[in-house]
């Protein structure tokens, strides 16, 4: 049995989400091959070869794959896909974009966002925003799976010595082209990779007040997140959103400030190891999932917290 993991990378190294997908492949069991597709991605291929448990790395280095355009990446994966029993990627914006296309072209179902491996054909996944867990079994010959980024401990980035094979396959479908991006400059860790996150909700009242969280985040080396309410109110951009419709996170410490704890927010953070809630409303649902709750006005409590760190 041979498993293909399509790894997200930044051309120089593989992302943490890919290590989680590799860990899910290890839980299924079998030879693990990693696909690195991109333009100028040889260095990422070398880091993938060092990941523990990887047998082979396939590097498809071509301009057609430079911006993860779904049509081109899917065509590449389908070209080699029938060699595998399972094809996995992380449940990221990129993986969610091209994987269903792969599945449909192979005429098999996709099982999205798996949170557990029961056996080689049976998997657990959250439905209804994590309010229920479904155990599902696939009868397809190839299992196409996306893996929830918080569900498995990432594979070790070192210790492996996989062979590297270059794939000379250029698939430019000519259906789409990449124009530009607006990427927030990150002075802090990425939300999905951070070990500490401090998030603000509607209680922050406006975008300027997020500066209160920034000072605490700097001291803790934390990422800053937000609830959908704060994003919808225009306080902060959507890439900061934690929740069912935003990013799914599970840091060691999650500090929720002025967040009531709507179901859709809890769906994105309730697997965090330790949850702290600061809210002046003692009946806020966030306190039902918090390990440590502080009923207080955030505009007094956060500066105090800042001073004590």
């Amino acid at each position: 049995m041979s498993i293909l993991v399509v790894a997200e990378h930044d051309n120089s190294s593989v992302k943490a989400s890919a290590l989680v997908a590799i860990a899910a492949a290890q839980a299924i069991g079998g030879d693990i091959e990693v696909l690195i597709a991109g333009a100028g991605c040889a260095a990422a291929g070398e880091t993938a070869a060092k990941v523990a448990g990887v047998n082979k790395v396939l590097v498809a280095d071509n301009d057609a794959y430079s911006h993860d355009l779904a049509e081109n990446i899917a065509a590449l994966i389908v070209e080699i896909g029938s060699n595998y029993s399972h094809i996995l990627s992380a449940t990221t914006a990129s993986g969610k974009n091209f994987m269903p296309r792969v599945a449909a072209l192979l005429d098999v179902a996709q099982i999205s966002d798996i949170s557990g491996v029961v056996s080689e054909d049976t998997f657990e996944r959250p439905i209804y925003a994590g309010n229920a867990i479904a155990t599902v079994q696939s009868t397809d010959s190839i299992k196409v799976l996306t893996v929830r980024g918080t569900a498995f401990d990432p594979a070790a980035a070192d210790g492996g010595s996989a062979t590297i094979e270059n794939l000379d396959i250029a698939k430019d479908e000519g259906l789409s082209s990449w124009d530009k991006e607006e990427i927030a400059e990150l002075e802090r860790p990425e939300l999905t990779a951070a070990s500490i996150i401090i998030s603000g909700g509607r209680g922050m009242q406006n975008g300027e007040n997020f500066a209160l969280l920034e000072s605490v985040a700097d001291k803790l080396g934390a990422a800053i997140g937000a609830s959908r309410a704060a994003v919808d109110a225009g306080f902060v951009p959507n890439d900061m959103q934690v929740g069912q419709t935003g990013k799914i996170v599970a840091p060691d410490l999650y500090i929720a400030v002025g967040i009531s704890g709507a179901i859709q927010h809890l769906a994105g953070m309730k697997d965090s190891k330790v949850i702290v809630a600061i809210n002046k409303d003692e009946d806020a649902p966030i306190f039902q999932v918090a390990d440590y709750g502080l009923v207080a006005d955030l505009f007094k409590a956060v500066p105090e917290l800042d001073a004590l760190l």
């Binding site: 124009d179 927030a184 190891k273």
Partner: protein, 250 residues
């Protein structure tokens, strides 16, 4: 051009989900059903394309039980011109829905197909991408801005690190993210008018599509509950607990 919008009937987003005691699924008895919220955004975008003169006709399609007519009527009240129901009492999974939609796209020759980025029941986020694959068309998922040009569309997409803009050839499949627009409410006169609009009904067999599922749900269970912790009295106590009890900060 024709714009096709695919909508799904789902449990309303305000309903608290309860897992059935026998672990066969969630309780759908007497539960309010609505248009999937992301599909409402798709309807709104299509109607705006018509209002802007870009689209001549907006067709709304749903796949499922006959009760899906309610959601099609909602879309008609919001401004869609006519509806198509592909009726089946079977459980239809994303690949089967995509195959049905492909048959409708072929029949209608729509230039732009819009649907939600995911449905809030299964949270799969597959149907739009699968339809694009089966039809051999371009795709622009998680759209937060759409501009239709001559034979192309320019779409701003929400990605993990921010936004990216791509240009796709028409015909194309677009899936909506939250920030694409704010859907309107249906007015009473429009709700009355919608009752007179046509809904054509087909079965998957009429369209030559086999909708037999390949993924079987073995059981559905509640998520492991998180135990509520303690209420601390002060910021000092909180910092002390985090340092010395939870040991998550130093």
């Amino acid at each position: 051009m024709k714009v096709l919008v695919a909508v799904k009937r789902v449990v309303d987003y305000n309903v608290n989900i309860r897992v059935l005691g026998d672990n066969t699924g969630v309780d759908l008895n007497n539960v309010k059903m609505s248009v999937n919220p992301f599909d409402e955004i798709a309807i709104e975008e299509a109607v705006r394309l018509k209002e802007a003169g870009t689209a001549e006709e907006v067709i709304v399609v749903s796949v499922g039980a006959s009760a899906c007519q309610e959601q099609i009527r909602t879309a008609l009240a919001l401004g869609a011109d006519r509806g198509i129901l592909v009726e089946t009492e079977e459980e239809v999974q994303p690949l089967a829905i995509a195959k049905v939609l492909k048959a409708i796209v072929d029949k209608e020759q729509a230039q732009i197909i819009i649907t939600g980025k995911q449905a809030i029941d299964g949270d799969n986020s597959q149907t739009g991408q699968m339809l694009a694959a089966l039809a051999g068309l371009s795709q622009a998922t998680f759209a937060s801005e759409l501009q239709v040009g001559d034979g192309t569309a320019t779409v701003t997409r929400e990605v993990d690190a921010g936004l990216e803009t791509i240009t796709v050839k028409l015909p194309t499949i677009i899936t909506t993210d939250l920030r694409l627009n704010e859907p309107r409410y249906a007015s009473l006169p429009n709700i009355m008018k919608a009752k007179k609009k046509t809904i054509d009904t087909f079965t998957p067999e009429d369209l030559g599509v086999d909708v037999t599922p390949t993924v079987k749900t073995l059981k559905v269970t509640p998520p492991s509950a998180r135990q509520a912790g303690i209420i601390v009295e002060s910021v000092e106590e909180l910092v002390d607990k985090l340092k010395n009890e939870a040991k998550v900060i130093s």
